[in-house]
Symmetry: C2
Subunit: 396 residues, 2 copies
C-alpha cells in the first residue's frame, strides 16, 4: 500500500516499462516541472560518483532544469567515460523530443553497478513516457524507480503560508546500500510554493541532514545517492521568514517520513529502530555512539530476534571511541524499559518486559551518556537472513 | 581437527567441566607457569572492560603471575562491582589451593554479557582442574575456552636461537564480536625461551598489531578481548638481538596463524578473505580502505555468493573517506583476475574467471590505489545467513 499523496501544481509525472533489467514492470520515470521552477539537489559523497550524478550535477549548475529522468535496474556506475556518454545521450534524446537544451534534463539511475546502460531501450520508451505525463503520476513514478524496495515510498504535507496553502510531496526509493552521508538514495520532493534558489538550497541541506543523513540499513554509501527539492512557484510565495520556516518544516517532515520509509523497507528488515543518544557533550559524539549501535551486526541480529541482549548495546557504546566515557553513568532503555545503568543490569530489570518492547514493528533504543546535554537520533533496522539472501542473490 | 602443537617447557594446562553454561563439555581451563616466568598482555580498548579484564590488568601490574584461569559461557561483563568481586573470588579460591597470593592468578572470561558469574561452580571445579594439569593439555584447554567456535585454535613454531631450539605455542578462541582493536579475543601464547619483561611486552604489541588487530568478523570489539604472551625461561635465552628477532618472528607467525584461524571460523563464515590494499600514501589510509571493504555487508554477502559484484568493492573504496582519491587510478583484483581499473570494468574482464577466484575457501581481494607506495592487509570472512541465525539465537 502506497501512502496517500497530494499532487503539486506545476509538476507532472509519468512511468514506463523500458525493459532495462526487469520484466513486466515500469522501470523508467519522468518528472516534468513548469517553466520558472527552482531546483536544489544534494548528491552522494562517495568518491566513485556514478555517471548520472556527474551529469546531473553539471546540468544543475548550467541552469534551471525542467525534466528529471530516472531509471531503475542499472546504476550506470563504474562505467567510466562510456557511462557519462550514455547519461548524456539519454538527456539529448529527451531534449530533442521536447525541443529544449540537453542541460535542462537531469539524469538519475539506480540498480546494478558496472554494467553498460541500455540507452536505446530508454530512448525507445521516451515517447510513451512523455505522453503519460500527469499531475497524479506520483505513485506510478515511485513504483517505477524501485529496485529491491518492496513498497513505493511517498509522503505529503499541506502547509499554511501567508498567501494560502502550499503542498509538499515527495517520493523516494532505497532499501539497501543505505548510509547516505550528505545525500541519500533517490528522493524527489516538490512544492508548489515559490522559493528563492538560495533559500531552497539551504532548506534542502538542513532537511537532509536530519532525515536521509540519519538512516542506515547496512552502512554502505551508494555511488548514486541524490535528493532533489523542487519548487514550482505555482502556489503561494514563501517570501517572509515565517513562511519559509513553515515550508521548511513541511519539507523536513516529508523528508523524515521518506527516510523512515526507506529504513522500514530496509532489505530483509522487520523492524524500524530509532536509536536515540542523549546526555552527550556534543551532537557529534552522540551521533558517533548512535551510528556505532545502529550499525553493529550483533545489535541488529539481536533486534531481529527481539532478544534484549543489552550487553551487545553496551559493548557497542563502549567501542564508539568516546574519550573518558564513565561507564558507570551510562543508562540504556529499550522502549520505556530501563535495562542497564551504572555499567550493569538495572535493578528490577525484567527481561520479558524488554523483550516485549523489542518485539514490535517500531522499536526505540535510548542511550543516556550522563555527561552533557546534547542529543542525536538515527534510524536503523534489524539484520535478518533475508538481508543476506537478497544481497547474496541480487544479480543471479 | 585441531592443529598439531608442541608442548612448552614450564607450561602445564588443564580443562574441566564446571557447568557454567554448557552441558557435557569442558568450560574451564587453567594454565600454570613455572616459577620465574615472564608474562605480557594486551587488553580490549572497549570502554566497557569486563570485570576479569580489570582484575587481570591489576594483578599483572602487581607482579609475576603463575596461573591463568579462563572460563567460557559467561563473560562476567556488564556486571558492575559484583562482577569484579566474582572474578576476585575465583582468584582467591585458586590461590588458596596452591598456597599463593591471589594476585598471582589472572582471570579471563568469555561468553554471554550481563549475567552473574556462577563463582561456586568454578570453585567446585578447581581441585579437578589442578589435578589435571599436564604439559600436553593445550588442545583440551583450547576446546574448553570455545563459545561459538566450531574448532579449537592452536598454532606452534620451533625457532633456532643461539642457545638451542625454542618453542612457541598458542591457543585462541573467537568467532564473533571480532574487531579486536589493540587486543583480540582470548589468545594465550607461550614460549620456553627466556625473555626480559620489557622485550616480551614490546614483542607482544608488535605481533598483535599485525595479526589479531588486523582481523574482523563483524566489526564488534568485545568487552573481554585479551592476548597474553608468556615466557617460561626453561629453554634457551633470547638475550642477543638476533635471537630476539628470531623469537619475535615465531611469535608473530603463531599470532597470525591464530588470527587467521579465528576469521576462518568466523560465525557462519565459509571463506577466509584477505583484503590487501597497496599504492596508498600511508599505511593508515590503506588500512582505512581495507577495513571499509572488509566490513561492508554488501561486499561480505557478495563474497558469500562467490558473486564478483565488484561494484560493491568499488563503492566501499569510494566511501572510505580518502581525500582527493583519483578513481581513475584505482585497480581491483579478485585473486589474480583484474576486475576493475580506471574506475570501470577492466578490458577483457571475464566474470566467470572472477567467480572462480571467489568460489574458494581462501579468497584474496587486492585494491591498488595508485597514489603511493604504502600497503596494508586485513583478514575478514563472508557474511552468511548462518551468521544471523547464530546471533539471533545465541541466547535462546
Amino acid at each position: 500500500m502506497a501512502e496517500a499523496f497530494l499532487p503539486v501544481a506545476g509538476v507532472r509525472l509519468a512511468a514506463a516499462a523500458a525493459g532495462i533489467r526487469y520484466e513486466g514492470r515500469d522501470d523508467l520515470a519522468l518528472i516534468e516541472l513548469a517553466p520558472g521552477s527552482r531546483v536544489a539537489a544534494v548528491f552522494t559523497r562517495n568518491a566513485f560518483r556514478a555517471a548520472p550524478v556527474e551529469v546531473a550535477a553539471r546540468h544543475l549548475r548550467a541552469g534551471a532544469p525542467r525534466w528529471l529522468l530516472v531509471n531503475a535496474g542499472n546504476a550506470n556506475a563504474g562505467t567510466g567515460r562510456a557511462g557519462v556518454e550514455a547519461a548524456e545521450a539519454c538527456c539529448r534524446a529527451l531534449a530533442a523530443h521536447v525541443g529544449a537544451e540537453p542541460e535542462r534534463v537531469l539524469p538519475f539511475s539506480t540498480g546494478v553497478i558496472g554494467e553498460p546502460l541500455p540507452v536505446e531501450r530508454i530512448e525507445a520508451a521516451l515517447p510513451r513516457l512523455l505522453e503519460g505525463l500527469r499531475p497524479d503520476g506520483w505513485e506510478a513514478a515511485a513504483r517505477a524507480i524501485m529496485t529491491t524496495d518492496t513498497v513505493p515510498k511517498l509522503a505529503s504535507r499541506r502547509v499554511a503560508l501567508s498567501g494560502g496553502e502550499a503542498v509538499v510531496t515527495g517520493m523516494a526509493k532505497g532499501a539497501g546500500m543505505i548510509r547516505p552521508d550528505m545525500a541519500t538514495m533517490l528522493a524527489f520532493v516538490a512544492t508548489d510554493a515559490g522559493v528563492e534558489a538560495a533559500v531552497l538550497d539551504a532548506m534542502l541541506r538542513r532537511a537532509v541532514a536530519r532525515s536521509f543523513n540519519r538512516i542506515t540499513v547496512d552502512g554502505d554509501t551508494s555511488t548514486n545517492d541524490a535528493c532533489v527539492l523542487m519548487a514550482t512557484g505555482q502556489g503561494p510565495e514563501a517570501a517572509r521568514a515565517r513562511d519559509r520556516e513553515a515550508l521548511e518544516g513541511a519539507v523536513a517532515e516529508v523528508c523524515e517520513a521518506l527516510a523512515r520509509a526507506i529504513v522500514r523497507d530496509g532489505e530483509g528488515a522487520t523492524r524500524l529502530v530509532t536509536v536515540e543518544v542523549a546526555g552527550g557533550r556534543s551532537e557529534a559524539e552522540c551521533l558517533q555512539v548512535a551510528w556505532t549501535v545502529a550499525e553493529s551486526p550483533l545489535v541488529k541480529t539481536a533486534l531481529h530476534a527481539a532478544d534484549p541482549n543489552w550487553g551487545r548495546i553496551l559493548a557497542a557504546v563502549g567501542r564508539a571511541g568516546l574519550e573518558g566515557l564513565d561507564v558507570d553513568r551510562v543508562r540504556i532503555l529499550v522502549g520505556d524499559v530501563v535495562v542497564a545503568e551504572g555499567g550493569a543490569r538495572a535493578p528490577g530489570y525484567e527481561e520479558a518486559a524488554a523483550a516485549r518492547a523489542m518485539d514490535r514493528p517500531e522499536v526505540r533504543l535510548r542511550i543516556e551518556l550522563g555527561r552533557g546535554t546534547a542529543a542525536a537520533r538515527v534510524w536503523t533496522c534489524d539484520l535478518s537472513c533475508e538481508y543476506v539472501r537478497i544481497n547474496a542473490e541480487y544479480r543471479t
